[in-house]
Symmetry: C2
Subunit: 452 residues, 2 copies
Amino acid sequence: MFRLLFTAGSVLFSSLLFAQSDTVMIRKIADEILVNSKAYSNLHTLTKTVGPRLSGSAQTYKAEQWGVQTLKNSGADKVYLQECKIPHWVRGGKDEARLIAKGKETPLNVIALGNSVSTGQKGITAPVVLIQSFAELESRKGELKGKIVFYNYKFNVKLVNTFKAYSDAVPYRVDGASRAAKYGAVATIVRSMSHSTDNDPHTGAMVYNDTFPKVPTFAIGLWDADKLASAIQENGAVNVYLKTNAHALPDTVGYNVIGELTGTEFPNEYIMVGGHLDSWDPAEGAHDDGAGCVHSIEVLRALKAIGYKPRHTIRVVLFTDEENASGGSTKYLQAATHEKHLLALESDAGGFTPRAFRVNIESDKLEKMRQWVPLLQEYGVYEILSGSGGADVDSLKIKLGIPAGELLPDSQRYFDYHHAAGDVFEHVNKRELELGAVNMAALIYLVDKYGL
Amino acid sequence: MFRLLFTAGSVLFSSLLFAQSDTVMIRKIADEILVNSKAYSNLHTLTKTVGPRLSGSAQTYKAEQWGVQTLKNSGADKVYLQECKIPHWVRGGKDEARLIAKGKETPLNVIALGNSVSTGQKGITAPVVLIQSFAELESRKGELKGKIVFYNYKFNVKLVNTFKAYSDAVPYRVDGASRAAKYGAVATIVRSMSHSTDNDPHTGAMVYNDTFPKVPTFAIGLWDADKLASAIQENGAVNVYLKTNAHALPDTVGYNVIGELTGTEFPNEYIMVGGHLDSWDPAEGAHDDGAGCVHSIEVLRALKAIGYKPRHTIRVVLFTDEENASGGSTKYLQAATHEKHLLALESDAGGFTPRAFRVNIESDKLEKMRQWVPLLQEYGVYEILSGSGGADVDSLKIKLGIPAGELLPDSQRYFDYHHAAGDVFEHVNKRELELGAVNMAALIYLVDKYGL
């Protein structure tokens, strides 16, 4: 072991403890991934031969088979499926919308939100009320009966971390339909949760409050959101025609795909690394979350390829049904109650250049992890933040006390593509994707060596 | 002023001195840019209405007019041109190459390097010698007479900072032709300086050693480099046909475009910020260096828009002729001998999310700048490195002692597009571009307030 004294300006890093051999091993991991990675070609196969992977769809099962085969090809000692109960919502064809104003009809680019009910075959035509916020909704509740509510709440571009802007805006997508239906609205439209420069609508899950009527609900592209808002402001009110055949089929089963490198000293103690295999349907789920799946598989492949023998079992989990109802993580949590985990690490924020990890963990363990930052900085990660561990793993911390973490890549492009037509393989950069796997593999190596 | 004590794990930042008002001012700058930036629309105009801007071409002059008008529109107090002597090399049409092996001819995707001489109208057909390094060239110097030398030196994908891989490979592009001509080679081909997943060839400047014959020289796309190398390895030797009409016209004049916000206290002391207006011709020079131009203009626009009155004069310089012969920076250096500069800051590494600045500066001044890092980290810059200040400003440090710096955005995608067909507006992300301008404007504000 050696003590590394870092001086960067007046900044003093005190007494960081790790072995020189760690620098060498992490360089070896990085070289293996940057030279021989299968992450990019695996993602190509997943996105181009399987495609969109909505929970319960035929492609979900094809993706599971892809996962099993890819984990085997990557050198997993053991590959198996974990059965989960999942919903089966279907879009039922192309969603439609038209703005009807001054005797003219203009198409609007919309997509029904996940879990939305159908408009019926004839669709719905009704006047539209422009609502900027839930506060405005409440103050105008008397005007909403028989109307379509259009939430035009904007993604806050001032927030440099785009996930904060998403958290800020997403209640309009998740809760907007029932909050408007409470006051008699017949449908809702929500401005897409994005700062993109295009007009693609961004879908995503919504949740009905069973107290109120279930009304169909849509997202609208940003250009058309502005167009619709302008038309309402100019004309007082306009009509919109909306149609979707979206509907829920009976719940079904899906599978978490699991592959393991068996630990040599502690085979029954797990370091989990995962992403989710399901995706929304407008594109290929390349960043969300094909990237996280191929990141996780690459961690296993690279460690195996360099001949690393983990002390603990390294377990890759490709979760089913993250997007609709978290059926995969719910099942994993149940099973994990009988197991010992050191860490559950997720990648579900895209295949962009890594900048950080965020970990839900006790402060003394966080301090320990932060001592490793100088080993990661060369590869892009320069800080380990404290916070939520990510959608599929955070409940492991909350319910079972398992440290849960997430890779945080650069977030600037994520919401350009998220749940929209742009989430395709062509928008993933090979090197950026690979660097995510490098940092994840390095962190898992360090946890395997030093524990947590 | 307040003392900020930062604790990040065991990492201790000691006694950083800056005012709370700086946090507020930098937030104001960032909000202005993230909400109202013209950087992206300015880049659209430059790339789509002007296009490629090779030194001495008609588009160079059109770009200068764009620069003058855009600086005026952005609120510059003063806009003027600085005349420079520049070369005028022209491509003279589409470059061509064909692999001739086993009686078959296959097209190869090549582009003549900047400054290359012509092959003549008939082109050149000759056997190709595969050379992996200059060491191999020397050891096989007896075999090169009458041959085409093909340098297949690979871009080192293990280097996470892609500019290091570029520096490592670029001597083959710059010096390869003369080093081969010394031993009688009749032309050279160089593997493109890139790790891209496509087959576009990447041009760029080469320099002849006047001691030896000037032979035409080309870059080849990565797929075709591999194809050509395989063909040579299989067949012992193959012939290649090469043709370019590239040639130099007499030197001409170009102009640095300069716009200023006049300082209120020290109008004759300058903080310079710039990029270069010229570009290679296969695309639109969007990242290289349209991004640097619109970054620099945006710094001026944003500071003016928020009503900031700089103490020193903030001077935007859009350099002419960075790519071919540094005619613009040579002239600026001459003029700067009679002026006082606090800092010359450049953006010439693309419009990607910023990660750092690199500054060529005395160590005590570097320590001072590093105290500002906590103010920038929110916006992407988490370190200030010591090193070269960038192509157009570093000579100001070397010759005149002026601190010279460069924005360092994330480098993973830069060499996918650099000097190739991919360097188009569509490969620039609006938010990533804007964050570059935010960090540059923040740094310039701090230098203006605290000096260097």
